[in-house]
């Protein structure tokens, strides 16, 4: 079992690692961003006079100072860098200041006088969709519609033995990366700009910044790694444009590091959604009709809202084979912050609803929750959820059977219930697409170089946000080449030196590193061995630890092989694998998870405690156990928070939760002391897609498994997250669970 230490580990545990927010440069200034206090308002005037007079203020920029496009957004640049006439959420930026100290910058921000005329606030999707609502964008308040249809849904419903209809509400979740957004932007002597700010796609930041600054991309260098967490949250631009404008205005390095409050106010969040599902089964318990309506609150700007809705639509029927499916989604602009990319990408929301439906149907027809799943889950050769051909694996059933066995074991174990505690067991399954999907530019690539110093340099345009891409690169490269980790030098996260690899998102990193090495190893090894053969006159050579080996004997070090000669380079460019069926946004490589949880419900306080969290994951061969387990455990706990604790509360489109004292992420007391993860590594013999990424799958099916366990414990059918103790208490009181009432222990079984 590979259980390699991470190459970035020592620097992390000793505190020696310089994050980009740890950097400082000579002559450096500090930047602050002035953001709108109103969720929706017209800007009448912006006066920076007083602020400019404050000693120590070196530059103030407003919309007037943007040389290029005053807009950003990964797909559609509809978010102003600095607002000119309208602000659409409380994080909208109107000015930015560079000063000698943070304190001076802070005071300057207070002295910037912006006159606003408040406009009607659209603080819900209902209000935004009302015909009388003001338009937040020229085309109205609908960002995107998406849908999918197969079979005759009305006819199918008419044949159902039982139909369940329910609306599920899921909250706005904060990424809560421990390192808030920040870094340093440095104007170089030759007129170029170096941006030391974390992101999940350096080249995309370069593209966006070039467009804003009116500079050629070649004059901008993005150093984007390492990051203290991202989870999708730092993929979109955050403070980069402001730091860049200020650095160019002053000719000095500018550091911006947002406080947690500033981060909470400006950052993107997971999309809140209202998901209505109507699902029916026939006499045998076969799912035959499934209708879904998704309404997503996308907030003020586009960013990746459309793709997230597409993803939710795709996964509406998840791993179940249902002949009639009708799915409609709408993503709606509101003044509620900005929703965007977040680990799971719409899958978490839709899976909570879908698995809720399955449990409800099982209860309605008196069928075992495991049986109904086994009966309806996809088989190896079934098409994907949009009818597309996908890489065939038995993942869905594999994770299900593993989880089902554990579920039965947990369920039957006799547990001592105290009078005021109820124990419940629950399970859920899911499938999750990796990569960006059909019809989206999803290029990947990498490069191997034998450097003059004898190091084998492996480079990718990826970023290390904590997910462990460095360890993945080290493990896969040493395995594929046969060299030692000491022979390697890994280069990522710097547009000046790395090849384009696409984004470090969508669970694609691990997969793309493996695919790159499959393409690179042959030509690279061949060139090295050819040179070695010329130098030594020997045959039957191979790469090994430290250098070239022949018949088990060490022959030549990499240093001697490299010495005084040209670098040997192998480079590859390719696209993330997609389905042969041209169905827009459809995925091809899926991962699967089966989750089993046990909860303890406190009848006196309404508090739900997760006491067991187990995840079985099918994602192909595991690259490195420590990284794999870490991603799944960590993802699971993030989802536990989503289920029981986390909600970015907004009132009248203003943030109520402003820091980690009111926005609660799980602490060590909130999680099971022992988490458990089981990888299923088996793939069909013909599969040549290697290890799949597991960055997201651990977050997807935990919420419905906890909901299922709550139902098992209390008979409470959860349709809203997070599950507040108040909701639990109210349900207990209403149904008399505590006072000898019947607790429905039928649950998922």
């Amino acid at each position: 079992m590979k259980r390699n230490r991470r190459p970035d580990g020592k620097e992390k545990v000793t505190g020696a690692l310089k994050y980009l927010t740890d950097l400082s440069f000579p002559n450096m200034l500090y930047g602050k961003i002035a953001r709108s206090p109103f969720p929706h308002a017209r800007i009448l005037s912006i006066s920076t006079e007083k602020a400019r007079q404050l000693p120590g203020v070196q530059a103030i920029v407003t919309h007037e100072d943007i040389p290029g496009l005053n807009g950003f957004g990964i797909v559609t640049p509809d978010q102003p860098v600095l607002c000119k006439d309208i602000v659409r959420y409380v994080g909208d930026a109107v000015a930015a200041v560079a000063a000698d100290s943070i304190d001076i910058a802070k005071r300057a921000i207070e002295l910037i006088d912006v006159q606003y005329e408040p406009l009607p606030v659209l603080d819900s999707t209902e209000k935004a969709l009302d015909p009388s609502a003001p338009f937040l964008h020229p085309d109205g308040n609908v960002l995107h519609r998406a849908g999918f249809q197969k079979g005759d849904i009305e006819e199918a419903f008419s044949k159902c033995r039982a139909v369940i209809e329910e609306t599920y509400h899921v909250p706005r979740q904060l990424h809560a990366y421990m390192e808030t957004e920040g870094g340093v932007i440095v104007p170089e002597k030759n007129g170029t700009l170096t941006v030391y700010v974390g992101t999940q796609h350096g080249f995309k930041d370069r593209f966006q910044l070039a467009r804003i600054l009116g500079m050629p991309e070649s004059d901008i260098r993005i150093v984007s790694s390492p990051m203290g967490g991202s989870f999708g949250g730092k993929d979109e631009l955050n403070i980069q444009p402001y730091g860049a404008l200020l650095a160019l205005a002053t000719g000095r390095p500018v550091k911006i590091h947002q406080t947690r409050q500033e981060s909470m106010r400006s950052s993107i969040k997971r999309h809140p959604m209202a998901i209505t599902m109507k699902t029916g089964v026939d006499e045998a318990g076969k799912l035959i009709a499934h209708q879904t309506v998704i309404v997503a609150d996308t907030g003020a700007y586009s960013t990746l809202g459309p793709a997230i809705l597409d993803f939710a639509v795709e996964h509406a029927a998840g791993p179940y084979i249902i002949p009639a499916v009708h799915t409609q989604g709408i993503s709606v602009f509101t003044n509620n912050g900005v929703s965007g990319e977040f680990r799971g990408f719409g899958g978490n929301q839709i899976t909570f609803a879908l698995e809720g439906q399955i449990d409800r149907l099982a209860a309605a027809i008196g069928m075992d929750g495991l049986e109904i799943r086994r009966l309806n889950l996809r088989r190896e050769q079934d098409a994907g959820p949009l009818g597309q051909r996908i890489a065939e694996t038995n993942g869905a059933l594999d994770v299900f059977e593993s989880a089902a066995a554990l579920y039965r074991e947990k369920k039957s174990a006799s547990l001592q219930e105290r009078p005021w505690k109820k124990i419940g067991t629950g399970m859920a399954v899911t499938m999750h697409g990796g990569g960006l999907g059909f019809g989206r530019m999803d290029p990947a690539g990498g490069r191997l170089t034998l450097k003059g110093n004898g190091k084998i340099e492996i480079s990718f345009g990826f970023e290390e946000a904590g997910q462990g891409i460095l360890a993945v690169i080290e493990t896969i490269t040493t395995e594929q080449l046969g060299c030692a980790k000491e022979d390697l030098s890994i280069v990522i996260g710097d547009t000046a030196v790395v090849p384009s690899s696409g984004s470090t998102t969508a669970s694609r990193g691990t997969s793309m590193v493996w695919h790159s090495l499959q393409r690179l190893k042959k030509p690279f090894i061949a060139q090295l061995l050819k040179r070695a053969s010329l130098l030594t006159g020997k045959e039957r050579l191979s790469l090994g630890e430290g250098g070239i080996w022949s018949d088990g004997e060490f022959l030549l070090s990499y240093k001697d092989l490299a010495c005084g000669q040209a670098e040997i380079v192998a480079e590859t460019e390719f696209d993330f694998p997609v389905s042969p069926d041209p169905i827009d946004s459809a995925h091809f490589l899926y991962t699967y998870s089966g989750v089993v949880v046990q909860v303890e419900a406190d009848l006196l306080t309404g508090k739900i405690k997760v006491t067991d969290l187990h995840q079985t994951v099918s994602a192909g061969p595991m690259v490195n156990e420590m990284g794999f387990v870490g991603q799944i455990e960590g993802g699971g706990v993030m989802a536990l928070g989503y289920t029981l604790l986390e909600d970015v509360v907004m009132k009248d489109s203003q943030y109520v939760t402003e820091n980690l004292d009111t926005y609660l992420i799980p602490g060590i007391m909130d999680v099971p002391f022992q988490l458990s993860v089981e990888p299923i590594e088996a793939l069909p013999e013909q599969d040549h897609f290697g290890p799949r990424g597991v960055g997201e799958i651990g977050t997807v099916a935990v919420a419905p498994a906890i909901a299922s366990a709550i139902y098992d414990a209390l008979g409470l059918q959860v349709n809203q997250l997070p599950v507040h103790p108040e909701t639990v208490l109210k349900s207990i009181e209403e149904r008399g669970v505590f006072h000898g009432g019947q607790s429905s222990n039928s649950g998922a079984s």
Binding site: R5, K12, S24, L54, P55, M178, E179, G466, G627
Partner: protein, 169 residues
């Protein structure tokens, strides 16, 4: 209240001396400067991290006179005469503390941003409790948030670190 912004920036400067990782340091700083900012910005000791700024997350945890303290809620002048240990002080002479070794071996970190504070909290725990049980571990780390690991790797690291230290003794 009228604020005179001409003078507001020129607050009184205090001279503060303390031992930082065994070395005497002296800083001239504002009376309202936080320890975390002095460490990071003035002394370039950036191992101590800043995340919530309100004492909730523990990323800025340090030891002051041996006691675990969040440095975002402590003002620099309060350090006068104190002995401070930061993450940088745990691996003096290039040798890592067993706690750090354990985090490395057990994967007790991912992004690493909570790690310095977490390591300090574990160090503090193991200094007073050689065989911490579940409750002791949970209690000791309740003030340190980690968003990446789900705490599984951290708990395994604490158990491993305790074993390492006990093996040495």
């Amino acid at each position: 209240m009228e604020v005179n912004h001409q003078t507001a920036g020129r607050a009184e400067v205090l001279s503060v001396s303390f031992h930082l990782n065994g070395e005497l340091v002296q800083v001239n700083t504002s009376p309202v400067a936080r320890v975390v900012d002095v460490l990071r910005d003035e002394l370039d000791q950036t191992g101590t991290k800043l995340s919530c700024g309100i004492g909730r997350c523990g990323a800025c945890s340090i030891l002051v006179n041996g006691k675990l303290t969040v440095s975002c809620l402590l003002l620099a002048y309060q350090l006068d005469g104190a002995s401070v240990t930061t993450i940088e002080g745990l691996s003096g002479q290039g040798e890592m503390d067993p706690v750090q070794e354990a985090f490395l071996e057990e994967g007790g970190f991912q992004c690493g941003y909570c790690t310095p504070g977490m390591v300090m909290a574990v160090k503090s725990l193991l200094d007073s409790n050689h065989e911490p049980d579940q409750h002791a571990i949970q209690g000791a780390l309740a003030g340190n948030l980690c968003r990446c690991t789900g705490y599984g790797g951290i708990i395994r690291s604490v158990q491993c670190a305790a074993a390492k230290r006990n093996a040495v003794r």
